[in-house]
């Protein structure tokens, strides 16, 4: 009983800490930052939701997929068309984008996930290229390379987001909801099935996990998140053009997810923030940026495959053991403490 109560306290403690930090961020960031910084942060939050899809696919499911950017495109164009040509309010556009992207993910995932592992990855690359071709050439639906402009801003009822700080609130709420969803996903049945598939597909199949269905479900969830991200992008920038959905952008998103730690929504947030801020901080070295990305990714994979979050976790466990703060090294600790699901 004591053990259970301590465990619950730790969870509520963590929850309170995170809630306080988020509340502070919600208040401080728009008031203390300049207009330019807020627009950059908004851009990062838009990609954060898409990278959460990568978190589900790669971090929980172990599948490298570059299709995120294509589903962002599907969601973006659906949202743009719904709001420009059908005059729907923002929430309907957002839902429409998510549903459309999810449906496309279902159809495409059902086909592509018949390939195993590395071949699936390559097929998602092919998908990005085909879809980019489609976006550039179907001018009636997408406006081609010139794109579609004049897309109305975020609005709920009479609250219209016509300034960057107001955009920030919408994006902030959307990001938090998406991150909560992805975080809870790990502890559900689907999350555990995904972890089993990631660690050893054959063993998972032997245990009765429907591997194909689990993978397709994960792909659809990632697709829905990407669709949401696309819709957010469109209403944030009031413009959508086909050049945003190239393969290079997809690799950048994967790097964002992996840098911070692909198994944890907080890690993905770190990675997204760092990669988005990097061009701003390194302005004089603008043309070497992508070179640093590439080198950084290679070094990251060798030294820190779990990303910054993984590094942080390693450091914190080492510190706890060193200072005997961990339950396991306390004198008289028993082994009955419930372990966290990895």
């Amino acid at each position: 009983m004591n053990v259970c109560m301590s465990y619950m306290k730790k969870q509520t403690r963590q929850f309170l800490v995170v809630a306080v930090i988020l509340a502070l961020a919600a208040v401080l960031v728009p008031t203390l930052s300049s207009h330019y910084v807020i627009t950059v942060v908004n851009g990062a939050l838009v990609f954060y939701v898409g990278c959460l899809g990568i978190c589900v696919m790669l971090g929980y499911g172990g599948m490298v997929s570059f299709a995120t950017i294509s589903f962002m495109g599907f969601g973006a164009y659906m949202s743009a068309n719904l709001s420009l040509k059908a005059g729907m309010p923002f929430l309907i556009c957002m839902l429409g984008a998510m549903v459309f992207a999810g449906f496309c993910a279902l159809v495409i995932g059902a086909i592509l996930l018949r390939l195993s592992g590395t071949f699936f990855t390559f097929s998602t690359v092919a998908l990005v290229l085909i879809v980019y071709d489609l976006f550039t050439n179907l001018r009636t639906l997408t406006g081609g390379p010139d794109g579609m402009g004049g897309i109305p801003p975020f609005n709920i009822g009479s609250f219209v987001a016509d300034t960057s700080p107001k955009n920030f609130y919408f994006l902030f709420v959307a990001s938090i909801l998406a991150a909560l969803f992805v975080h809870r996903l790990k502890y559900t049945n689907l999350g555990r099935r995904l972890a089993a598939v990631r660690d050893n597909e054959i063993a998972a199949a032997t245990m009765g996990v429907d591997v194909y269905r689990t993978k397709v479900t994960a792909f659809v969830i990632a697709g829905v998140l990407s669709g949401l991200s696309g819709s957010l992008m469109v209403h944030n920038y009031h413009f959508v053009g086909s050049s945003s959905f190239v393969f290079d952008q997809s690799t950048t998103m994967v790097i964002m997810a992996m840098l911070g730690g692909v198994s944890h929504p907080g890690g993905v947030f770190l990675g997204t923030m760092i990669i988005t801020m990097l061009p701003e901080w390194l302005k004089p070295l603008q043309e070497y940026i992508r070179l640093f990305y590439g080198l950084g990714v290679m070094l990251l994979m060798v030294f820190m495959p779990a990303g910054l979050w993984g590094l942080g976790e390693q450091i914190s466990t080492r510190l706890k053991e060193r200072f005997h703060l961990s339950r396991k090294t306390r004198i008289g600790a028993d082994d009955a403490s419930p372990k966290e699901v990895v």
Partner: protein, 292 residues
Amino acid sequence: MNIGLYLQLLVIGLSMGMIYAILAMGIVLLVRAVGVLNFAQGELFMLGAYVCYALTVQLHMPIYAMLIIALLVFVLFGTLFMFAVYWPLRNSKWPATIIISTLGASVVLKEVVKLIWGSVPVVQPPIIKGVLVMGGKIRIEYQYLFIIGIGSLLIIAVFLLFDKLFLGRTMQAAAQDSYAAQLLGIPTVITTALTYIISASLVGIGGWLVSPLFLVSTSLGSFLLKGFAGMVIGGLGDVKGAVIGSLLVGVIESFATLFTATFKDAVVFSVLIIVLIVRPTGFFGQKISEKV
């Protein structure tokens, strides 16, 4: 029916198919040997084109010297590539790390090439100049026939290596089960390095072959996708299937230009998707059995 037009399209299709086949062979060799997909293959292809451009146009070397030095550069590059991308990660828990690492390597290669040679595409003169004119109406450039010739030689050489030579069988053994090969005394470091070297050289030569037809630019890496399409259509993990599938892809792409010019890439990838739906292991595929 315009036989001349079809003949031209067939020749172009076969020669592009040879290029895709070279790329596909490079990928399949690495997949069989180390079990991971190499995203940087397209960039190695592009590097081959740039190296040969540098040697012929910028340094004005005669063709025989250029070939020898280019091969040396590819060998060096293959080894470097292996030690940078594969070697530190060979025992990693996540196979995804190697794929991401090759992705990083592809970005690095692209940016380095851009920094050295600039991002403006450059022109490489054809290796064999001249056009074959048949019947007054059919014009087939010698470059295409040259590509078909060299491509066939390379494919035959790879098959001879793996079928006849002892070295080839050693490499196959190390690829199928590296632990057992090590027990037998086969040095897997050397065989893996050799596989990377052969793969890099193959696609490097492919880059040299294709550079007079398409400008030497940093976007040559996109050829990789068609090579991959050929590999999937022909059968995963099978070199023979990869070659046949790639030739098919080349011919399909060439004949697709009869109907549409903008969507020819989409046609090729739609065929890929159809093959994936109908027969995921490809026509000649054999499942690479996973170890439990």
